[in-house]
Subunit: 345 residues, 2 copies
């Protein structure tokens, strides 16, 4: 007869999961607005579907993860920004449809649930939710030692937001002559980390502690800058400006992959590279890995986190409003006639 | 100067992801109901928040994964039930609040996106969504070779459902004397796979091709039975029966962990083991791994997939209705006075 076997012997520690959750429940509950009826601990989280001032409400949902940015966090030993990464990524995605977030759920997969690490990430998620006026109403942890490499995690988020049917994006008719207004990113956000790590650390032989040429910062610091949320800069604009036809979040696939997602089939986008300078971290990744230009623009945002498709006459005012909101923004190209395509010239 | 590096060299194949998605987009779109305004391919999926006949709608949300059931699927080479697993798990979770599902999103994390495997899982997800009258409106794939072991996957789902505020569960006052009505599971559903695999395949030295004593089936077949959905049996009951106070989905933590989630603090649940016989697969897992009884009831559902807390006078009729709906169901215990607790006697 073999020795007695327990769930914990098999790599799953239910007590640890419960303990970890108790540590952050206060932070989570601090994100609840008055519409949360039941949150963490319930089989399902309950949220009132009453949206004041929105006549024909649409729910807008998205799900995503932050990919191997988690590995850079492990290399640096700083997990405190990853919650912002997943929340802000999701917030920006539904902003492309004109929505403001209402609530968020997270999934935390790991080889082994490490309470202090979980704590840091969920606290930063809760903070990010508060900053985006979004309730963190549910989540799940899973310990899967046979699926995840040792000490590895996957952080997944699912968001629900709301927009009025008549204000949903894309809206109106995008046409030749419209302007592309780009808003600056602060780094890789949450995309391209597998390529960046390969280029910097394997091919280039660099470390997270090495400096970034031209900046007084280290590679680890630049790579870990949290994904920015464009909600507070862009959402008000969408409410009072009629010339904005579409919004694109520059995530995996870069400008090439994400601009067409909001474009009709009869226009192409022409992006002019001379209108901005890619952040130094992208230059370093490219030179370290000897990555072709086109591949860089396909894997990374290259310094442009969000693009608004704006009527040419409204574009200067939109840029100015973004500046007033603290964003770095510029007209980075325009819409031309032709089959749907993106050209970066 | 090193050779040119591409995103694909770093283990991320965007083309493969797009190709894989194109293969299943028809199945996905077949799940859309008339409320889906924008689905797969959008930054956010759009769904009309108009719920006919529901006066005070609450959105009910949950997120979960199917854990290492994926590893058994790999051992057997059959991934066709995993979509049912994740969808039905989520459907049952929100059913515990009285909700019916409206839409579902999935996240598919992997070491390397394998199109045929992805295809099988998403198709079964789409089928499960149709059977639960739920639209599969969005999803995401991620290739994370440095996070996942080779050929491993994590399948995560996020669901949104709706319930009227006045019909949400738990409701009414659970009290001593109420009955616990258990509905049969068909196996492990999606919980306890790390322990089951350890017990059967490592400690016990068995294989997925070995037979289950007392059944004419193989271990692999029993372990892969898809998580059942109780929506069609239980949801109608919730609409026309007043004596149902709470519903508990028996997932990770078993009866011990899941009954208290829906119980007030002044009652305890007493479950009588003699009222049902655990499925043969649980007996085999226990004997192979020499797992203590209490641990079995904490890791597995032991043959009870869902428990309804029902007024004692309504309980026989509820059991009969469940039988008519094709379920195997029985009174498996009752509610007694005392601090919140679960006793399995």
């Amino acid at each position: 007869m073999p020795e007695e076997l327990t769930y914990r012997d098999a790599g799953v520690n239910i007590d640890e999961a419960e303990r970890a959750l108790r540590g952050v429940v206060g932070d989570i509950q601090a994100t609840y607005d008055q519409n949360v009826v039941a949150g963490v601990g319930s089989f399902g989280s309950l949220y009132r579907a009453t949206f004041d001032g929105i006549e024909k409400p649409l729910l807008v949902s998205s799900i995503d993860s932050i990919g191997t940015k988690t590995r850079v966090a492990a290399m640096v030993g700083d997990y405190g920004g990853l919650g912002y990464d997943i929340v802000n990524h999701c917030v920006n995605d539904i902003l492309c449809q004109g929505a403001k977030p209402i609530y968020f759920l997270d999934y935390f997969g790991s080889s082994r649930l490490e309470a202090t690490l979980f704590d840091k990430i969920v606290r930063s998620m809760a903070q990010a939710c508060q900053e985006n006026e979004c309730s963190l109403i549910g989540g799940e942890t899973a310990e899967l030692p046979d699926v995840y490499h040792q000490d590895e995690i996957d952080v997944v988020g699912s968001i629900v937001g709301v927009v009025d049917f008549d204000r949903k994006l894309p809206r109106g008719k995008m046409k030749p002559g419209d302007a592309l207004v780009g808003i600056a990113s602060n780094g890789l956000h949450t995309n391209g980390y597998s390529l960046a790590r390969r280029a910097l650390f394997e091919v280039g032989g660099l470390s997270v502690r090495d400096g970034v040429p031209g900046l007084g910062t280290r590679i680890g610091e630049e790579l870990l800058r949290p994904h920015r949320s464009y909600l507070h800069a862009v959402y008000p604009l969408l409410q009072d400006t009629e010339g904005i036809y579409a919004v694109s979040h520059i995530t995996g696939g870069g400008l090439y992959g994400n601009l067409p997602r909001v474009m009709p089939s009869d226009v192409r986008a022409v992006v002019e590279r001379r209108t901005w300078t890619p952040l130094p971290i992208f230059q370093l990744i490219q030179s370290a890995g000897n990555i072709p230009d086109a591949e860089m623009y396909r894997a990374f945002n290259m310094g442009v986190g969000m693009v608004l498709f704006v009527d040419r006459f409204n574009a200067p005012a939109v840029v100015q409003r973004l500046h007033l909101a603290g964003e770095s923004a510029a007209i980075i190209g325009n819409v031309e006639a032709g089959p749907r395509d993106v050209q970066i010239v």
